[in-house]
């Protein structure tokens, strides 16, 4: 008996955009029921590869085989019929529809009689799929009211739902599924993937090597549009993968622990007994000049609200927040700003930058009033341009110039502009929510250096993140949240970092 053909095979797939080669002859094999990790930096070609496989982009050259049969290229509908389902990084859910409606969007005809939708059957089906995946979401809930992490899980459930509807085994492409998930949700996801192993074949695209080691049985690395390596998971190590991804060995001290400050300054930010009904329960925290305070917790634990309270986006019902001993008006963004509190939001594209505006417009926005000419309500174009060019150069932002629309920048470079917005203004307190989200390892490393520099300049930094190695590696001290309250405070000196386990045990 011959071995069954692989679920998915790519042969010399090439994709050129004009003179730019996004993919240069990629060979890839996903065995039936396999879980293949696909890793690479931003721009390495991962997203292009995904769109070529699911038919949204037509390769210039090459062949794609599903279960040994060639499929026509660049046809999303044929890819769907072959069982290929994609879970996108950017969410493909309609916010005002209910969960079960989203799960079956475009497949309603199978649940309708004479044009009338069988809502009850749709709900039953949705509940069954969610139950099998171990996802606790009400099928009747409005999708837009779910937390980001829950929506991501729903999206994955949607892809798996197709497996029930088509007579083919699904090939699920997961594009950065964990980048917005809390650890608990990540666990649920990985458990589901393991449970589905005999029923689906999966490609997992991720920035996180820990994801790959947790769930994949083989890993392929991409670099500059080409496959730079392939290993069974038993033979891969983080260092091998890192080198294949970046093209050079991992630099010692990814989190720049050696630059971590030992002696800290005075208390800059202090929260005393802060309450937000149902979300924060009597939180008291102090952050010193030059300190990086890591904040860890699962989704809904209160870690995100902590950041929103400090930046004035959420008004606490009780308690006080002060900077350098001066009490802030609670719930006022303007007050927070005049105390020089800056923030890097988790959702960069909706809260961090205005994509259609130029690099310069984005960069000067928080400090716009400073660019007025003396005694005139007119903005100085020259000074805005000088400031922008200075920060582009200082942070080595890759852009065609300050007039470039920011949506044309890569995630890492756009994130640098978000930082520059506040650096140009000058901050004393910096609240960061998941600053590495969606960035590749190289860009992350630069962002980490930036944080170390800020700490050296006596900025008090609050680092909220789901990425535990990042929180542990960067912070002087870590607080963990559980149901709205601080559950532990853990010292994290450079020479004696706490283990992930010791942090996690305080989160759940």
């Amino acid at each position: 008996m011959t071995a069954p053909p692989p679920a998915l095979e790519l042969r010399a797939v090439t994709k050129r955009y004009g003179t730019v080669t996004a993919l240069g002859g990629v060979d890839l094999v996903l065995p039936r029921h396999g879980v293949l990790g696909l890793v690479g930096e931003n721009g390495a070609g991962k997203s292009t590869l995904i769109s070529v496989i699911n038919g949204t982009a037509r390769p210039t050259d090459g062949q794609i085989l599903v279960n040994g049969r060639a499929v026509s290229l660049g046809s999303p509908s044929e890819a769907a019929r072959a069982g290929i389902a994609t879970v996108f990084q950017e969410q493909g859910l309609v916010a005002n529809l209910r969960v079960y409606e989203n799960m079956l969007l475009g497949r309603e005809q199978q649940f309708s009689r004479a044009g009338v939708l069988g809502s009850a059957a749709m709900k039953r089906f949705a509940r069954k799929v969610l139950g099998e995946l171990g996802i606790v979401i009400d099928p009747d809930a409005i999708t837009g009211e779910l937390a980001f992490g829950e929506r991501q899980l729903l999206e994955i459930a949607k892809a798996f739902a197709l497996g029930h509807l088509y007579p083919v085994e699904p090939i699920v492409l997961l594009d950065e599924p964990t980048s917005a998930l809390s650890d608990r949700e990540t666990d649920i996801l990985f458990e589901s993937i393991r449970r589905w192993r005999g029923k689906a074949s999966i490609v997992l695209v991720s920035h996180r090597l820990s994801d790959v080691f947790a769930v994949c049985d083989a890993v392929t690395t991409l670099k500059d549009g080409r496959v730079s390596g392939h290993w069974p998971i038993t033979e891969a190590t983080p260092d091998i993968l890192h080198e294949a991804i970046v093209g050079r060995p991992r630099s010692a001290g990814y989190y720049k622990e050696s630059e971590q400050r030992v002696a800290l300054g005075d208390v800059v930010l202090s929260l005393r007994d802060v309450h937000v009904p149902g979300r924060l329960d009597g939180v008291s925290v102090e952050v010193r000049a030059g300190e990086i305070l890591g904040v860890a917790g699962v989704l809904g634990s209160g870690k995100t609200v902590l950041g929103q309270v400090i930046t004035g986006a959420v008004r606490p019902s009780r308690g006080e927040i002060s900077v350098h001993g001066r009490r802030l008006t609670p719930g006022s963004r303007i007050a927070a700003l005049s105390a020089d509190i800056g923030s890097v939001p988790a959702e960069r594209n909706t809260a961090g930058v205005i994509g259609m505006h130029s690099v310069q417009s984005n960069l000067v926005l928080p400090s716009l009033r400073r660019f007025r000419l003396p005694r005139l309500p007119i903005l100085s174009s020259r000074r805005q341009a000088e400031t922008t060019d200075r920060w582009i150069e200082r942070l080595r932002v890759k852009t065609a110039g300050r007039t470039q629309q920011i949506r044309n920048l890569s995630g890492g470079n756009a994130q640098k502009i978000v930082f520059a917005k506040w650096l140009a203004r000058g901050v004393r307190v910096f609240v960061l929510d998941d600053p590495g989200r969606g960035l590749d390892v190289g860009a992350k490393e630069e962002i980490y250096s930036l944080l170390r520099n800020l700490a050296r300049e006596n900025v008090a930094i609050v680092l909220i993140s789901d990425n535990l190695p990042e929180v542990i590696g960067l912070s002087n001290r870590i607080i963990t949240f559980r149901s709205g309250a601080v559950s532990a405070e853990i010292a994290a000196p450079a020479h004696d970092k706490p283990s992930e386990t010791s942090v996690v045990t305080n989160m759940v």
Partner: protein, 329 residues
């Protein structure tokens, strides 16, 4: 200027790529040129200086109203009450001019507009009613009030001071009404790009959350946008009344659709954040030239409506950069 551009951008741009990058700004110009040639061939009188001034006089008020709408569309909202503000403030000015004098009537007309804008904006930000509905309701309220004041007929006045001022020429050859409209357009363009106010309006339209995070007092600036719109419509109403010589209850009736068509044709996106007053000038020119051209070539007014509607759809279809829109609603 060229020294300050970073070297990466100073490569000579090929003409074709220059055209495609600036296509949105070019299309209205092309439409205008095509219309001028077309009507000029039909009737030689069309392409004369006299007629150019006619077009200017006919479109000055529309330009002001379209500029008003632009300031609100920039923040991603919409002001449907523009036409009814023109009507009401025109009537108030007509009533005020004899007892109070020309300057007081100008202030009264603009004051009415500012007040309406303030109410629009405050309703939007405090009651969180979408601007489309707030201003749709306001449209009806104001038309009703205007009709109640004048009982459905025009309000005449004796004092011709304002009418003379509007029609005389501070710059020889250029009627003052055109001058006022052009100067206003220039000031607003300056405000949009060179002041905190303008940049904040763009930022709110481009990304309200981002703007709020950056410390922009979003609600206050939304109210400013509606007050700007109201005030400009007030001025437009006063000018229209003095131009016509009476305050009439149907004065602003056609203004709403024409102004929105002009704004969108010019290239300001209804979703906010891009475009600006300078774009709207071109959009107004298209509509003005089209209307005037059909007048001088003696197209019947019913046919004019049909043609105008079709040209607006075609012009917008060919000018908007569809790549920027994921969805069309």
């Amino acid at each position: 200027m060229s020294q300050t551009i970073p070297h990466t951008a100073s490569r000579p741009m090929r003409f074709s790529s220059f055209v495609s990058r600036h296509a949105v700004s070019f299309y209205p110009v092309l439409v205008i040129l095509a219309l001028i040639v077309f009507f000029g061939v039909q009737n030689p009188y069309f392409a004369t200086f006299d007629n150019a001034m006619n077009i200017g006089r006919q479109s000055s008020v529309l330009l002001l109203v379209a500029l008003a709408g632009t300031m609100v569309i920039m923040i991603g909202s919409i002001d449907l009450s523009v036409g009814s503000i023109v009507t009401l403030s025109g009537i108030v000015a007509a009533l005020a001019i004899d007892p109070l004098g020309p300057s007081a009537s100008v202030l009264a007309g603009i004051g009415v507009g500012l007040m309406v804008g303030f109410v629009n904006g405050m309703t939007l930000v405090t009651l969180k009613v979408p601007s489309f509905l707030v201003t749709l309701g306001m449209l009806s309220v104001l038309s009703g009030i205007a009709n109640m004041i004048c009982g459905g007929s025009s309000i005449m006045f004796m004092d011709q001071g304002l009418t003379e001022l509007v029609n005389s020429e501070l710059v020889p050859g250029l009627p003052n009404i055109i001058l006022i409209a052009l100067v206003t357009a220039a000031i607003l363009t300056f405000v949009a790009f060179k002041t905190v106010l303008g940049r904040y309006l763009f930022a709110i339209g481009g990304g309200e959350v981002v703007a709020a995070n950056a410390g922009v007092p979003v609600n206050r600036y939304k109210v400013y946008a509606f007050m700007l719109s109201g005030g400009l419509c007030g001025l437009a109403g006063v000018l229209l009344t003095s131009q016509v010589g009476a305050g009439t209850p149907a004065a602003g009736a056609n203004m709403l659709l024409d102004s929105i068509a002009a704004i969108v044709m010019g290239g300001t996106a209804l979703s906010g954040g891009i475009g600006g007053p300078q774009r709207t000038i071109l959009g107004v020119l298209v509509i003005a030239i089209l209307s005037n051209g059909m007048d001088v070539t003696e197209v019947s007014s019913f046919t004019q409506e049909v043609v105008k509607g079709l040209v607006i759809i075609l012009a917008v279809a060919s000018t908007i950069d569809r790549k920027k829109y994921l969805f069309i609603k």
